[in-house]
């Protein structure tokens, strides 16, 4: 392994231009990626091995619009660019949107990064009857330009060889030069003349960032001798005005370049099937129908009936109950007899018969079907449309359409979703979504079991759904009313609807499922051990006793208190326990317990991430306020159902 030349390649670009797929193509390695899947919220590294003499580390980064960053995700990328000293910077753009994205290329060139421009989704550009004269563009920019269709693997080979030639410094850059208006150039010169230290980016771009009021740049020059003089200059100007002017000039430069190199080959066909679907999914009314249709087919039919019904039945009843559980019980009985240690491994709460059975037989099939469906919806470009349709409704509870993504993901796994709240722009929105995820959003395992439990009665399911929706809206409205801060704004680029590629869907489902399995199976096993300890020390009896009170107040049998206790370990663990108990409850009791468990505390994993992302204090406040809220809602709904003579 010694004597290898080591290089670092950073992939950057706007969100949703296919960086992650390109990353996969280059590294061929999705599984070694230490990333929480979803929107790329943290950077990811992978290795691209070419021959014996090279080792190339590729870094995939969250979306970046401009070096003058606004969001937290953008800052992650900026830090990587400025701190990692990349040997190659690959700027990935959506080819049909090149004119809007090229200014960032110009900015990267101006900063003196060794840039390659990748025109991805080139097929979509051609479908619009457009064409780019690549060799001419390459000549004018003075950097390599490569066309790719990442989802089909087209262009990867060319990109690899370009990366190597730049890493080995064989490529001769002849970067395009362009200047700003005289007054701006004068200011840039004045500031850059005062910069004495060495920086990874050019002094020109550093000066522009300073003039734009960029805080990160300000931090970089803290060690400069002349820092006070620089601050003095900066105080005399309006950074927003400079921002607008510099941005404008870069855009004009991009416009001129593209006027020369982007060719239109006649008109695009006006009406086609995709366009009609496009219109429907964005329509204020029909859009809502589409949501309902997707909920029905995707969640109810596929996740609920197929995943939670058929698959769980297959694995849980046919495999575990009929074959594995009796076998394991017999086996451990032989070795351990009726001792307490028998209960650790087998019996009602054993590691194998409870921990492993719950995670593999009940939870995994449901989560797998959910992630599969989520990946299809994600890759089709529908999520953005959903955000758009729901933006107005979400505004009422202080959120923006952007929050739709973590919330829908929360229907899969609340832990993963809490992590994804990082992509939200305002701190306030992150708090609100974290709270709502902890309180109202059932994870897919919970949802699957709930569909299984209540699915037999439409009224029961509808009662549950309406109750949770009302609680979601009420809780959101209350939070919105009493939380300080500016309301969230909404903007999103709407990608064209695409047919998801089955390979990509399967790969993503697998990677999410793997993350999930690594996350849950240990916790389920730990929970089994804790339950065993709790049982033999009688601590659980006391806690079960305590929880039996609110349970009876909500009209439930006292035994259900135990289920709530399980819910502490994992929400789905609790609900899976309820699945085991369903014969004991009538329909009203089932509805009430499903509602309480949906609202009940987040699982250990989600709570850990809440602490990490929002801090211990906020996480604890959320955790503690959720418990009384859940029981109170259960009690109220039970009374309402009794008044309506529901049974």
């Amino acid at each position: 392994m010694t004597g290898k030349n080591k290089y670092k390649v950073v992939l950057v670009g706007n969100p949703n231009v296919g960086k992650s797929v390109l990353f996969y193509n280059l590294t061929g390695n999705y599984s070694a990626v230490s990333n929480y899947p979803g929107t790329t919220i943290d950077y990811t590294t992978g290795k691209m091995n070419i021959g014996e003499h090279h080792e190339i580390t590729v870094i995939d980064t969250p979306g970046l619009y401009n070096l003058m960053t606004i969001s937290e995700e953008e800052n992650v990328t900026k830090h990587i660019l400025f701190d990692e000293k990349p040997d190659v910077v690959v700027h990935v753009v959506d080819a049909k949107n090149i004119q809007r994205m090229l200014p960032l290329t110009l900015q990267l060139i101006e900063a003196k990064f060794p840039v390659i421009l990748v025109l991805n989704m080139y097929d979509e550009l051609q479908r619009q009857n457009l064409d780019i004269q690549i060799s001419h563009l390459e000549h004018d920019l003075g950097i390599p330009v490569v066309e790719t269709v990442a989802v089909k693997g087209i262009g990867t080979k060319n990109l690899r060889s370009r990366i190597i030639s730049i890493a080995e410094k064989r490529y001769k850059f002849d970067p395009i030069l362009f200047s700003y208006a005289n007054e701006i150039e004068d200011l840039i010169e004045e500031v850059s003349g005062k910069l004495q230290n060495d920086y990874i980016i050019s002094k020109k771009v550093l000066s522009i960032l300073l003039l734009n009021g960029d805080k990160y740049a300000m931090g970089l020059i803290a060690g400069e001798k002349d820092v006070e003089n620089i601050k003095y200059i900066l105080n005399t100007i309006d950074p927003l005005d400079i921002r607008l002017k510099t941005e404008h000039q870069r855009h004009n430069a991009a416009k001129e370049l593209m006027a020369e190199h982007l060719n239109h080959n006649g008109k695009v066909k006006k009406v086609n099937f995709a366009k009609i679907i496009d219109k429907i999914t964005m329509h204020p009314l029909f859009g809502l129908f589409t949501v309902a249709l997707i909920l029905y087919i995707g969640f109810y039919k596929f996740v609920g009936q197929f995943g939670a019904g058929y698959l769980v039945d297959l694995v849980e009843v046919k495999l575990f109950e009929n074959m594995l559980t009796p076998f394991i019980n017999n086996l451990f009985h032989k070795f351990l007899g009726n001792s307490v240690f028998f209960d650790l491994f087998a019996g009602d709460y054993g590691l194998f018969t409870l921990g492993l059975r719950y995670s593999i037989a009940i939870v995994l099939p449901i989560v797998a079907t959910f992630f599969f469906m989520f990946c299809i919806i994600e890759d089709s470009g529908y999520l953005v449309r959903l955000s758009m349709i729901l933006d107005r409704i979400f505004k009422k509870i202080g959120l923006s359409g952007r929050s739709v993504i973590p919330i829908v993901l929360g229907l899969g796994c609340g832990t993963m979703a809490t992590l994804v709240t990082r992509t939200l722009e305002t701190v306030r929105e992150r708090y609100l979504v974290t709270f709502l995820l902890a309180l109202t959003i059932p994870c897919s395992a919970q949802l699957g079991v709930i569909l299984g439990l209540l699915g037999t009665s439409f009224t029961a399911l509808a009662t549950w759904l309406i109750s949770i929706t009302v609680i979601f809206l009420v809780a959101g409205a209350i939070l919105n009313r009493y939380t300080k801060g500016n309301p969230a704004t909404f903007f999103m680029e709407v990608p064209p609807l695409r047919f998801p590629k089955i390979g990509n869907v399967l790969r993503k489902t697998y990677s999410r499922l793997k993350w999930y399995a690594m996350e849950i199976i240990p916790i389920f096993l730990l929970a089994s051990v804790l339950i065993w300890i709790g049982k033999i020390t009688k601590i659980f009896d006391i806690l079960t006793y305590i929880f039996s009170y609110p349970a009876t107040w909500a009209g439930l049998p006292a035994d259900v208190g135990e289920i709530f206790l399980y819910g502490f370990f994992r929400r789905d663990f609790g609900i899976a326990g309820l699945y085991d108990m369903k014969e004991l409850l009538d329909l009203r009791q089932l509805i009430v317990s499903c509602i309480i468990l949906t609202l009940f505390v987040p699982c250990i994993a989600q709570f850990t991430i809440m602490i990490k992302e929002r801090g211990f204090k906020v996480a604890s406040i959320i955790f503690l306020s959720v418990i009384p809220f859940a029981f109170l809602s259960g009690i109220v709904i039970n009374i309402l159902l009794l008044l309506l003579r529901f049974n």
Binding site: I70, M282, R392, M492
Partner: protein
């Protein structure tokens, strides 16, 4: 006029961007929506959807109010 009151299926030129809300201003700039850029209104509810360059954006009325436009072509 503000983008929020612009008509459906017409093309406008961006004239200016309101600077009062700094964050909104920076956001709009980052998206490449700058004075002189053409925007064609595709849809108005529930969000404003418009074509800019060759891409489609959806924004809410808060941001839409910050973008001042003038009529460029009545048929997009």
């Amino acid at each position: 006029m503000k983008l929020t009151i612009a008509d459906l299926n017409k093309t406008y030129l961006v004239e200016s961007i309101d600077k009062k809300d700094k964050n909104a201003f920076k956001k709009i700039c980052s998206l490449g929506i700058l004075p002189g850029v053409e925007v064609a209104i595709i849809q108005k509810t529930p969000s404003i959807v418009f074509q800019v360059y060759n891409g489609i954006f959806a924004i809410d009325s808060y941001l839409g109010d910050k973008i001042n436009v003038k009529l460029y072509r009545s048929q997009s």
